[in-house]
């Protein structure tokens, strides 16, 4: 197992290096304008531009900039460790920004995840146990409907109905728990959580249903029944336990991807998470921020992949990690 983890970690590092490398290549290959000009703002004299270039290291060729970025990331810079530099646009050290943003995105992702897991799995299990009945077909039909309704449609629709017309819920924005009461905090999270989870819940319901249906045809389910176990135990302890493993894998990866930024949801609901930062940084060609965001998001995915593989091996004793 240890050997396996070491090998995976080495590969992970390689992947991250490549991801950031590709980010740099794309950034410099696209004709987006001179970052120094943007940084200079109004005072665009050649001397100031030269100064800015030197300060931000923009006078080096792009691959050197890439290496400098790596060096600072690993060794730290004037803002501490890890050395993520400062945003070109806000000039604020990215280290603080990033962690703050991650916190918001994490609340969004985890909250939505809990919702979609509970709803998705329950519906999936119930549908699997009553295949081809009206309930099953209705549930799967609704699931298809939900998958067809993207967040950028559902979001504004939900806001319109629940905030604008019915005035049941407060509007957009992020109200941190520390500064505001539970009600304010929670009230502003309901819509983003539900809207984001609808799509995933539908997916997971379908996934659970098909997994469980397949598992229930396995021989060991017949053995479990032959042992005289209660049907509830047969379904949950024997059926779901086996059907769960692919769901766990997918869940880990979905969550990791979301942690890298739920761009559309954050934009619609005005949540200051990584997604929103991504949009802003790309719009303002803030290479420094983009590089850091890419690194962070990629790290989440890479780490999640490793964790998910290990969890799979723990759940399924037949899997030998080689």
């Amino acid at each position: 197992m240890i050997r396996y983890i070491i090998r995976r970690v080495l590969w992970a590092i390689l992947v991250l290096l490549i991801v950031v490398f590709v980010t740099y290549v794309i950034f410099f290959l696209l004709p987006t304008g001179d970052p120094a000009v943007r940084l200079a703002g109004k005072a665009r004299t050649p001397e100031i531009l030269a100064q800015i270039r030197e300060h931000y290291g923009l006078d080096h060729p792009w691959y050197v900039q890439y290496l400098l970025f790596l060096k600072r990331a690993v060794l730290g810079d004037q803002y501490g460790w890890p050395g993520l530099g400062q945003s070109f646009t806000t000039k604020v050290p990215l280290k603080e920004t990033i962690f703050g943003r991650i916190a918001v995105t994490a609340q969004l992702a985890i909250g939505a995840a809990l919702v979609w897991i509970v709803i998705g799995l329950s519906i999936g299990i119930l549908a699997a146990l009553r295949p081809r009945t009206l309930g099953d077909r209705t549930a799967m039909g609704l699931a298809v409907l939900a998958i067809s309704m993207p967040v950028f449609f559902l979001g504004p629709l939900a806001l319109y109905i629940f905030w604008f017309r019915l005035e049941w819920l407060p509007g957009t924005g992020y109200y941190p728990l520390g500064e505001y009461g539970f009600g304010e905090w929670f009230g502003h999270w309901i819509l983003p959580w539900v809207v984001l989870s609808v799509l995933y819940a539908a997916f997971y319901a379908r996934l659970t249903r098909s997994n469980l249906m397949e598992t229930m045809t396995e021989d060991y389910i017949r053995t479990a029944r032959a042992k005289g176990l209660s049907e509830k135990r047969v379904v949950l302890k024997h059926g779901m336990r086996a059907g769960l493993t692919p769901i766990v894998t997918v869940f880990g990866l979905d969550l990791a991807a979301l942690l890298g930024g739920a761009i559309i949801t954050e934009t619609i609901f005005n949540l200051p998470g990584i997604g929103q930062l991504t949009v802003q940084s790309v719009g303002s060609q803030d290479l420094s921020a983009i590089a850091v965001i890419t690194l962070v998001a990629a790290s989440f995915v890479v780490v999640a992949n490793l964790i998910v593989d290990i969890v799979y091996a723990i759940l399924d004793p037949r899997v030998r990690l080689a």
Partner: protein, 336 residues
Amino acid sequence: MPEPLLEVKDLKVHFPTQDGLVKAVDGLTFTVQPGETLGVVGESGSGKSVSFLTVMGLISRKSAVIEGQVFFQGQDLLQMTNDELREIRGAKIAMIFQDPMTSLHPFYKVGDQIAEMILAHEDVPKKDAARRAVEMLGEVNIPQPEERAKQYPHEFSGGMRQRAMIAMALSLNPDLLIADEPTTALDVTVQAQILELIDHLQSEFNTAVALITHDLGVVAEHTDHIQVMYAGRIVEEGTGDDIYYKPMMPYTWGLLRSIPRLGHDTDRLTPIKGAPPSLIFLPDGCAFSPRCPYVFDECRLVQPELLPIDGRHATRCHLGYTDRQRILDEEILTRS
């Protein structure tokens, strides 16, 4: 005769499918005496597995129409509620299946799976159940049972897995053990080990055994009473001596002539002509009539009854007794 342990009366199990009604079991009547070993022989599609799955209550009424009566120790299992059946399943009637690799849950330890069965039926502390699980593993000759109990099924060999299944099935000392092709997926020396184990445990625990198989050799060596099934019915039943030395039904003749048998050398085997019957479109008369070399008109029109010949030897065939005796002497027994 003592009260039979299991008495199946005119059991019918029909599955409605898109292509038609599949009559998997179509009027099955037999008994199992306490402590005896019944051999149930047939090819795929004969209904041998479905009939015993129905006895166990593992065929749901949502997928099949079930008629008839299945008396176990005097009570009709087909009239019981699911809860009542669950109490019997595992504790009084246990079943082991063909493929031990897929019949055990891959994610749980073997000892836990056995203990789970004990705990489902008896109110004992977990530690007791675990200890009994280890004891049962020892009973089936699995070396180092304590360590093995903590292992997962994939860490066992095929033969050991089947032993573990037997251990699990017998852990509550059931009165009837149904073994559905228990050795088909195993190597021949392992098969011999498992069959001997079943023989041994049967006499030790005085369990009745229903041994379902397609292998006429297995049945010859390990059973007291044999029933040959075809298209969901019994076509011949009797002791080993009856079936192998005095068979009286063309399907049995066909089976015996079509397999390579040690001690009966032939240059060519005589396969049964035709193909196994469609269970949807069964003929009006005898189900075997399309393939029977001795068929005559009545066979195609009227279904024969299962009639006794001698003691518990019975057959389902329209041919006259003397005709059959003649065919037996002239054609069947001369080949060896």
